[in-house]
């Protein structure tokens, strides 16, 4: 039961990063690749009808974590209070920039929201990476069984810990690179002409960054979190997850180079799934090292049995809506006339 919910939550994290990842990534390269107002509107329109549905994944993920692992939800959300507040504020800024940018035809208005869009998207990508880095590194608990992390202390990975240190910072950069690649592949898929070419070039630049930083993150994680190698030694089949990540990345590069934008985006999605699964496999059965495990945070069996009864059909239905919306908006975004 515990492993099932652990896997479901990991699946939702992967779903969230794949879906919101492409619209965050689109935001990161927005200022860089879209030069004219028409191009910027194209970038925004490629995610406009879809981003809020993607963000619902975050809400559903939070709710699932809440009822399946209430103790984890309580301890980690209050322990990471300050970084979470910053995430909330960035989400507010980014949501406004996507929705409101094109509402007013004014140079200053649109220029302002363009900058907000890129910076909030980029910072969110970094902060989400920092969050995953914190989960892998783990936190120290007080004798009372709680913890509270300041934003940073001395940027070292030994106590006193802060949310941002050199390790979580590198994971944040990695996350930024991955989402940039993912978003660039999305823009290449949804646009045509010069904008599409620039998106492909951005993907070509992001790709080696993902590889290099990813290698560094992998090595550093092995050293900082001995659980990972222990888990791999105990269950060597777990190597399929990093293999999926690496294979997906290679396939994404090849497909993008051959201008198979659809395959490239799917390969990048698979790579993200592989990365999230690798992290989840690596720290199993912990949910937040060094103290919180599946067993000591899982909700009661009766409540969870009720939960799975609606959760499974509900998420299936949600997948249908998401699939339908993505199918309706699957074509190229036309270069829009001025308005």
């Amino acid at each position: 039961m515990g492993t099932l919910w652990y896997s479901l939550v990991a699946l939702m994290v992967a779903g969230y990063v794949i879906l919101d990842g492409y619209d965050l990534g689109a935001g990161v390269i927005h200022l860089g690749i879209a030069k004219t107002d028409a191009e910027r509107r194209q970038v925004i329109e490629s995610i406009g009808p879809l981003w809020d549905g993607n963000e619902v994944f975050l809400i559903a993920l939070g709710g699932t974590l809440f009822f399946a692992f209430p103790r984890l939800y309580a301890l980690s959300f209050s322990g990471f209070y300050l970084p979470l507040m910053i995430v909330l504020w960035l989400l507010i800024f980014r949501g406004m920039s996507v929705e409101f940018r094109s509402n007013v035809n004014d140079v200053a208005w649109r220029g302002f929201w363009d900058v907000v869009f890129t910076f909030a998207s980029g910072l969110l990508a970094v902060v989400f990476g920092v969050a995953i880095g914190n989960v892998i590194r783990g936190v120290n608990f007080d004798p009372s069984g709680t913890f509270f992390l300041p934003l940073w202390t001395n940027f070292g990975v030994a106590p006193p810990l802060g949310a941002l240190d050199w390790y979580t910072g590198i994971v944040g950069v990695f996350s930024l690179a991955v989402m940039t690649l993912h978003g660039a592949l999305w823009i290449a898929l949804r646009t045509s002409g010069e904008l599409q070419n620039r998106a492909r070039r951005s993907a070509a630049i992001a790709w080696p960054c993902v590889l290099v930083v990813g290698a560094a993150v992998t090595v550093l994680s092995f050293r900082l979190q001995p659980l990972i190698l222990r888990n791999l030694a105990a269950a060597p089949w777990g190597a399929v997850f990093p293999a999926l990540a690496v294979g997906g990345l290679l396939a994404a590069r090849v497909a993008s180079h051959r201008r198979h934008d659809h395959q490239a985006f799917l390969a990048s999605s698979a790579a993200i799934a592989g990365m999230v699964a690798s992290a989840a496999f690596g720290i199993y059965p912990y949910v937040l090292p060094s103290q919180l495990t599946i067993d000591n945070t899982l909700a009661g069996p009766h409540g969870l049995a009720i939960g799975i009864m609606w959760w499974a059909p509900g998420m299936l239905l949600a997948a249908l809506y998401i699939g339908y919306a993505h199918r309706v908006f699957s074509g190229k975004v036309p270069p829009s006339e001025n308005r």
């Binding site: 939070g62 209050s78 322990g79 007013v104 913890f147 969870l304 609606w310 809506y321």
Partner: protein, 447 residues
């Protein structure tokens, strides 16, 4: 500032502010569906244009609803960790249900409704307005299920480690508190949407702009608004009040400013609770009415505040009393105003009656006040509990979060939400000024 007080201020501020947006989107979702249905059945482009216009208002409001809504779910964990740990298996489920069953539906079909009119068939576009409405109203159901559980905990059992777990899904969804609170709340949202629609229509008529649309907006707004305000009083408000009497009588006593238990209790129309002398100052009261409203007997005994131990009194009796009286007073004014409008609509002269058009404009902000006062009543009446009878608010916060950090984030939200308000008003003003316009030429052939 006391730690729990900082957490309470932050939650109260962010939830009160957040709910300014969903009450409009839930109300408009119904009205847009009505407009879209008329347009679909009559093939009259006027109604499609009207629906498209309100969809623009909806989109801006919905965006602000999302970005101010996400912090609400997170704050259960960040600021109310002991409550989240205690009741997470139950209220986490209702919150997750909202995301899974309501928000995916709502956001998916909002995208199609707003951006896909030229990409899907007429029928599919009409259907997307129905599913948008369904998603919006389902989200209300699950949120109120969460609140109803805090007001009246049901369907749980004690699990390990001092946590609760859900025992019965049916009991959770069939909470007797839930049904009336839900319909009462949704009528309130419909009132907001209707009054905004009617008010803008009245403005167009007075300004001599978009007159045809102005008439449509006033007509639909007044009809839907009348239905909503009557239903707010009866049966939903009446039943909700009786639920309070049945399940939380100490809150009823505080709402009514009733200190002494008595047979044939009066209802106070005006007066100020005096917490030093435990009496109502300057009361204007009608004898026996409270007894009748609560128990349907003129001589029934109603318990006053003094009948209950002081440590279960709501901790801010005057604010609770005033919030409740503001809600009821405004509701009464709404009913009177709607009766006038209905009468002149029936006579066929409403659209030329300048004083009534002015009245509709002036009324626009007041459903927001009434809805806010209603929620203050519900939430102050729940105090001093976070889950009534099970966990006190003072025992529900996060031990790890200092008051300095809570004040920091509270100030951050206040600043950010001030900015949001300015942007919202600016954008809505522009949309209203541009008004409904004919459909843009189809970019692709309509299937």
């Amino acid at each position: 500032m006391d730690r729990v007080l900082a957490d309470r201020w932050q939650f109260a501020f962010t939830i009160t502010y957040h709910y300014l947006y969903p009450q409009l989107t839930m109300g408009l979702a119904l009205l847009i569906f009505v407009l879209k249905t008329i347009g679909y059945r009559t093939r009259n482009a006027h109604y499609d244009n009207a629906a498209r216009f309100w969809a623009r208002v909806f989109a801006v409001t919905f965006a602000l609803g999302i970005v101010t809504g996400i912090p609400m779910e997170f704050q259960f964990g960040t600021n109310w960790a002991r409550f989240a740990n205690f009741a997470g298996n139950i209220i986490g489920q209702t919150l997750a249900l909202e995301g899974v069953f309501a928000f995916f539906l709502e956001s998916g079909f909002l995208g199609i409704f707003l951006w896909g009119e030229n990409k899907v068939s007429r029928r599919a576009h009409w259907l997307s307005s129905l599913l948008l409405f369904a998603g919006a109203w389902l989200s209300g159901w699950f949120i109120i299920a969460t609140n109803a559980w805090m007001q009246n905990p049901v369907g749980y059992r004690a699990g390990a480690n001092g946590q609760l777990e859900l025992e019965s899904f049916r009991a959770l969804m069939g909470n007797p508190w839930l049904v009336w609170q839900y319909f009462h709340n949704m009528c309130g949202a419909t009132a907001t949407g209707s009054f905004v629609m009617a008010g803008l229509g009245a403005y167009y008529l007075l300004a001599g702009k978009f007159r045809e649309y102005g008439r449509t907006f006033v007509r639909l707004g007044v009809i839907a608004g009348s239905a909503a305000v009557f239903l707010l009083l009866f049966p939903t408000g009446d039943e909700q009040g009786r639920n309070v009497a049945r399940y939380n009588p100490v809150a009823l006593a505080a709402m009514e400013g009733l200190f002494e238990s008595q047979h044939g209790a009066p209802i106070a129309l005006v007066g100020q609770p005096d917490m030093e002398h435990l009496r109502l100052d300057n009361p204007i009261a009608i004898p026996n009415v409270l007894s009748f409203l609560t128990y349907r007997r003129w001589e029934a005994r109603v318990e006053g505040l003094k009948a209950f131990p002081r440590d279960i009194w709501p901790d801010n009796v005057p604010l609770l009393y005033f919030a409740y009286h503001i809600m009821v007073g405004l509701g009464t004014i709404f009913i009177a105003a709607m009766l006038f409008c209905l009468f002149f609509m029936w006579r066929g002269t409403l659209y030329e009656k300048r004083p009534l058009l002015w009245l509709l404009i002036v009324l626009m902000p007041f459903p927001y006040v009434a809805n806010t006062a209603g929620w203050l009543t519900a939430e102050l009446g729940r105090q001093p509990w976070v889950a009534r009878g099970l966990l006190r608010t003072a025992d529900g916060n996060s031990p790890a979060v200092s008051s300095g950090n809570a004040i920091f984030s509270l100030l951050g939200f206040m600043g950010l939400y001030t900015l949001l308000s300015i942007i919202f008003l600016f954008l809505i003003y522009r949309i209203a000024q541009r008004g409904p316009e004919p459909a843009p030429p189809a970019a692709e052939p309509v299937h």
